[in-house]
Amino acid sequence: EPEVTQTPSHQVTQMGQEVILRCVPISNHLYFYWYRQILGQKVEFLVSFYNNEISEKSEIFDDQFSVERPDGSNFTLKIRSTKLEDSAMYFCASSGGGRSSYEQYFGPGTRLTVT
């Protein structure tokens, strides 16, 4: 069964450093998403991406965040200058187009620790 993969599973970085979280969505999917979950809290939407551009973003997704689909398979989330409060689990998800875009498949997550 096709699945969404994410690397790395755990990333430790120092405050102020740039990090790139990587995702490989399901191959025939058209929509890509990033969600964030701070430990002990709910999962929050960050951004959705379709047709090589951001389709929607939340207020969390400020100028220090960016997303990119550099090739036909990868989907990345970059945090330019990490802060302590960026420590969280980051989930990538993907979905098909049209009426199937509600069915989002999640990757296993990347745990980001900012020290």
């Binding site: 959705s48 929607e56 998800a93 509600y102 999640f106 997550g109």
Partner: protein
């Protein structure tokens, strides 16, 4: 804005018994989907069950079923014959085509006791 509320931070159930997790939501949309996701200690998000708002029939997946009350904006999850492997955090979530994003509740931590 759509909101999803889970009023039970924690629930406990005896193995083989039945438990119901509550969820309410607020929306002005008529076409939407509702989901229950399971998050075990590994923190992987696993889709348990989904319900299309236009369907009156409650969704069922093996031991998992929902009670969807559209007028009351209520979407509860019933787990029958609870197993130790059901112990996890359960999140209720809402999706509408207008936003194309999932909005999650705060979760209910389910403990299964022997």
């Amino acid at each position: 804005a759509q909101t999803v509320t889970q009023s039970q931070p924690e629930m406990s159930v005896q193995e083989a018994e039945t438990v119901t997790l509550s969820c309410t939501y607020d929306t002005s949309e008529s076409d939407y989907y509702l989901f229950w996701y399971k998050q075990p200690p590994s923190r992987q998000m696993i889709l348990v069950i989904r319900q299309e708002a236009y369907k009156q029939q409650n969704a069922t997946e093996n031991r998992f079923s929902v009670n969807f009350q559209k007028a009351a904006k209520s979407f509860s999850l019933k787990i029958s014959d609870s197993q130790l492997g059901d112990a996890a955090m359960y999140f209720c979530a809402y999706w509408t085509g207008g936003g194309n994003k999932l909005t999650f509740g705060t979760g209910t931590q389910l403990k299964v006791e022997l």
